[in-house]
Symmetry: C2
Subunit: 156 residues, 2 copies
């Protein structure tokens, strides 16, 4: 397995290898983060109100699954694995939420390139499929997904 | 096709029918919404800075794909199609971002139940698979996905 470089050097589709792997820094998910996202995008009691959440199906606040997906995106961008090359998302397959994430939980994101498709002859972007796994502080997977990204070819 | 009722009545897995369909109210996606989400969760130039975005791959600001997914979640929650019954996401399949969404674009979400699986005998939640399509003001699909939700059975 190859580790991604943390670098400001721009990387293009030709520079990527199947099996290349990267793990993020850990991130604490706070109660404030959970309720802020919940109020804006997923206003259900168990994402926005700790008292109502205590009586709800999870016995307390949990992060919206879309919040976890958004945190995974932020970690991917901040890693600058592609330098300044834009990460353009084409889609996602097999996104699964496996465990609740509660206030104070610490998550890390693991990413591995599992498929690299060069551009068709008339296109300037190829496709990279990445398997992403978010884990909590007990090393339990809380979310898995496959991200499909469009990555440019190296400028001539 | 059956239309969902907008109601505060709680609805359970037994109350849902394949083919039931619902369309949201339209929502304007503003430049402020785009950059707010971008700064928090997808800090790439074309989501956070209109001047840099103008020189980037989309010729201007566009919404993060995860922002569109989060808006779809909010519209689903606000519809209260299940009354007070919680919408618990198990996962998403075949999420695709098809067109950029730019400041001032107006999006609507369309949802149809395509598969309903009763709970296994020892479980108190069944599974509903919904096809969701977000469209812009030109009726072009900008995002499609299949959401897998866990919905409780009617309390005895």
């Amino acid at each position: 397995m190859r580790e991604s470089k943390m670098s400001s050097e721009n990387r293009y589709i030709e520079d990527l290898t199947v099996g290349e792997r990267w793990v993020s820094e850990p991130v604490v998910v706070s109660a404030d983060d959970i309720t802020q996202f919940g109020r804006l995008y997923d206003p259900q009691p168990f994402h926005v109100d700790s008292e109502l959440a205590a009586q709800g199906p999870f016995g307390g606040l949990i992060a919206s699954g879309w919040h976890l997906a958004a945190i995974a995106m932020r970690l991917s961008v901040e890693a600058r694995s592609f330098g300044g090359t834009p990460i353009i998302g084409a889609g996602v397959d097999e996104l699964r939420w496996l465990q609740p994430v509660r206030p104070g939980d610490v998550v890390t994101l693991e990413r591995e390139f599992i498929e690299i498709t060069p551009p068709r002859s008339n296109r300037d972007r190829g496709t990279v499929r990445s398997r992403m796994t978010m884990r909590n502080q007990r090393n339990e997977p809380v979310m898995t997904l496959q991200a499909i990204g469009k990555i440019p070819t190296r400028p001539q």
